[in-house]
Amino acid sequence: MSLAEYFARHGSEILAATTQHVWLTGITMLLAVAIGVPLGIVVARRPWLSKPILGSANVAETIPSLALFGFLLPLPWLGDRADRIAIAALTLYALLPIIRNTVAGIAGVDPAVRQAARGMGMTEGQILVRVELPLAFSTILAGIRVATVWTIGIATIAAAVGAGGLGEYIFRGLAMVNDQVILAGAIPAAALALVADVLLGLLERQLRPERG
């Protein structure tokens, strides 16, 4: 049986696994952005928080993913369902590039622009929403892009704790010593990562503050 035949025969299952993979990644990214961007804003405002917050995110990054899934297993509520564990672990990994780029994006705003904004009587909130975030947006999006590509990759490992997704095929193929089964997971995962990278890259270029 050729690879093409394998894909044809198991098309609907592979599609279901892909959907599950996209779902895991999507929820993860929503959470990571919802947590990471505000944390980045806080760090940008209070540089003394940079060490503890970026430090913790860095530490999370260094934990091998399989071990992290394992650590979360015994936790109450989280450990009850495999996809919760997977999403929690993936979110932890996705945070660092998002926080870091949010801080960098805001720090990169020309001080003269910020000073002018204050001098014109904008409140701190207005400066953030109307000036800093729009100007930092493409940098933040670059962080989200990196995090998304990572997450799609690491999400394959989530299958080890039973969260499903394309990793199922990879683990099954490894166990069966069957390359076709491995590829049935690896190829769609790689394709997803590429598509996400290209789409977010386009968006990023579109939204760059200095148009033209």
């Binding site: 001098g119 014109m120 009587g121």
Partner: protein, 266 residues
Amino acid sequence: MTSSAPTRVSVEAPSEPLIEFRNVQYRATGGQILLNKFNLAVERGETMVLLGRSGAGKTTALKLINRLLEPSAGEVRVEGRTTLAWDAIALRRHIGYVIQETGLFPHYTVEQNVAVTPRLERWSAGRIRARVEELLALVGLDPHAFLQRYPHELSGGQRQRVGLARALAADPPILLMDEPFGALDPLTRMEVRQEFQMLEERLRKTVVIVTHDIGEAVELGTRIALLEAAELKGVYAAKEFLLSAEPVATAYLAQLRALEPGGRKS
């Protein structure tokens, strides 16, 4: 426009100064004193130049007026009220502010940039539009050619004009300018400066302008406050400055004469 060049000898007795520094000291967080024992009154309608070399405290003094900084001792009064009693946001919207690098918002068009303060003040769209066009014309930019452009599509002189239009947008009675022409090449600088001077004669704002350029000070100032090492060395009518014997002033004048050997009309 009947009154010509303001002569600052006769001050209307009852009117109190629009801006007043009373024994102001400003200490930076590191502890160094950036402004000390500073007393200065700016009268309504005059252009007060803060002249001095880098680090003399000029910009510090300027930022104390719109409360970007708060005095460590003494008080700064704007329209008779200490800046600390003002709501900082209301105070700043009441005062136009122009800085050297213009601080134009790169993600806003010229129109949006000029409209910042009117929008913060929730003017109607029609009124904002009319005001923006009026202001661009006022600073010598054709509204239809410039409204939709972004700052990076403008020359330095054009950016500075937009910065001025933005500062004037809500028609503030006070205008603070921090080295407003500093980033321009000498010819553009002279042009924009002359235009500003004509504009100021028309608008009669109270202007405080920071510069280290003696020529600019003499040309634009009604009076010149000379700062050196965080302290006020003296306040002179612009013409009087040319005759001053204050060593710092004479040093400036020597520089001026060296540049223009023919001397200067005054």
